[in-house]
């Protein structure tokens, strides 16, 4: 049946930022699909909760405390993975940080921090992991980007630039690594119910305003992003590399949305579910 194509049976996956949110959902979805998963973030106690869930699915989990803004931590993550699990088949670069600030008011430190955490870290982890993938002549790297990387979302300044850089890092690495049958893709996520967006979804009034701007009129669950990562990690995406998959409920579609601006269609053109024929 269909599920077979999503199988990651016997694969070794690293997921950064997997103590919560999208990263945690990906780690669990991968374990569900048969992978052994290395979970990495700064907070051991949260990672252990993710590891417990992976164990409960009968898969191996490895907890590696990692601050992805530190190069030696990333190198240690890759090394520990290979030492303990013997290989790396899938790398998901998910850990990221967001500082909301107008670009004109952003300090140097803020800029550096976001570029380091969100972009430079992905380069280093991909470079280190790809050494093993090249040897194996197979592998899949998945970068979790944001629609902020394709649209100039207000206040997201350096975050948006780091995510735009990530889309292009994906393409240049895909171009180089495809010769070794290593695929590199990115997922541009829209509004997802995570800690990063808590200020939005925890307040019903604010949530409503955001939801109106999304054609699908809702905020995504982390599992809906995990499903896309699973697709990209699996053989179902065997001919997809260098691609950027936008998962945003249509948010980046509308340059102009008459429904929001208050323009309404003449009654005769409106489609009513009851009367449509």
């Amino acid at each position: 049946m269909g599920k077979i194509q999503f199988s990651l049976e016997g694969k070794i996956a690293i997921v950064t930022g997997s103590s919560r949110g999208i990263g945690k959902a990906i780690a669990i979805a991968f374990a569900d699909a048969g992978a052994d998963v290395v979970v990495a973030s700064r907070t051991i106690s949260d990672l252990e909760k993710t590891a417990d869930e992976i164990h409960s699915k009968g898969r191996r989990a490895l907890v590696v405390r990692t601050d992805i803004s530190r190069q030696q931590d990333i190198e240690n993550l890759i090394e520990t993975t290979v030492n303990e699990f013997g290989s790396i088949d899938i790398l998901v670069n998910n850990a990221a940080q967001l500082i909301l600030m107008l670009p004109s008011m952003l300090r140097d430190e803020g800029w550096d921090k976001m570029i380091n955490t969100n972009l430079r870290s992905c380069f280093i982890s991909s470079r280190e992991a790809s050494k093993f993938m090249i040897k194996n002549r197979k592998g899949s790297i998945i970068n979790i980007g944001s629609v902020a990387g394709t649209m100039a979302v207000p206040y997201e300044s350096a975050y948006a630039v780091s995510k735009a850089g990530l889309i292009h890092l994906t393409k240049v690495m895909a171009g180089e690594l495809s010769h070794y049958n290593v695929r590199v893709n990115s997922i541009e996520v829209g509004m997802v119910k995570t800690k990063m967006t808590e200020a939005v979804w925890s307040n019903p009034q604010v949530a409503k305003i955001f939801e109106q701007g999304i054609p699908m009129h809702r905020i995504a669950e982390p599992e809906e992003i995990a499903a896309v990562a699973l697709f990209l990690a699996s053989d179902a995406a065997s001919y997809v590399t260098g691609a950027s998959i936008c998962v945003d409920g249509g948010a980046s579609l509308a340059g102009f949305n008459p429904d929001i601006q208050g323009m309404t269609l003449p009654e005769k053109y409106r489609i009513h579910k009851e009367s449509s024929e």
Binding site: M1, G2, M216, L230, Y239, I245, S276
Partner: protein, 272 residues
Amino acid sequence: MDSPNMSLKGKVAIITGAGRGIGRSTAISFANAGANVVIVDIDAAEIENTVKIVQSNNTNALGIRTDVTKKNEVDAMVAKVLHAFNTIDILVNNAAIEYWIPLMHMREEGWDKTFDVNVKGYFLCSQAVGKVMIKNNKGVIINFSSLAGIFGDKYSGAYCASKAAVIQLSRALAGELAKYNIRVNCIAPGMIKTRMAEAALKDEDTKNRFCSIIPLGRFAEPEEMASIALFLASDASSYITGTTIIADGGISITGMNPDETGKTIPDKYKTL
């Protein structure tokens, strides 16, 4: 939320251009995932072949010969599907034609025919099926575009323009239909082993030259497009709408490929 899976159990899916190639593979993979599939094509003999393959796996298939450029035929096809299965959950617009003719030599009829099949056909099917999906307050439409819809391929200008139109049609439909819980997405395949790529596959030498510009170094099997369509048809892509997934083995990422142009990096920088 359940763990993501690609099951289409009990769904009703219409696939146009399902007589062969990507359309046929998509129909087979949807049927294997549990869907009742409707095989739409203009060639009755090809329909028969696909229906036989699908039914040999003990899955349900209905073949309906349809010229997708004619509204009355599209409407009749949709009515037949509703009569047989009561509903429609998934539409895959895939039927397309390509003329390999430089634009300066393209006759008006060729241009019109290309747009009739590749754009108007998609519109007519989407409109007829979209109305059913609006009533159901759910549905998925998947449009096959092409890398030619993004690149300016030489000698297939009308096809390129029509495939670019498909990408925009998908976006516009996605915007209009999102509030009815209908997702509309697009797939842009690169070089696939189908009859349309026959000329590129005609001999080893030609094939190798094409492969040298594909980072993954090979043509795709139609099944590798079908698995993407299956992902987009399933709940695994529940938050994806208005998106185009490029499935080209990396062709579109490298404007220039040094390996092809004969420029090579010094040995010491070669990874292996």
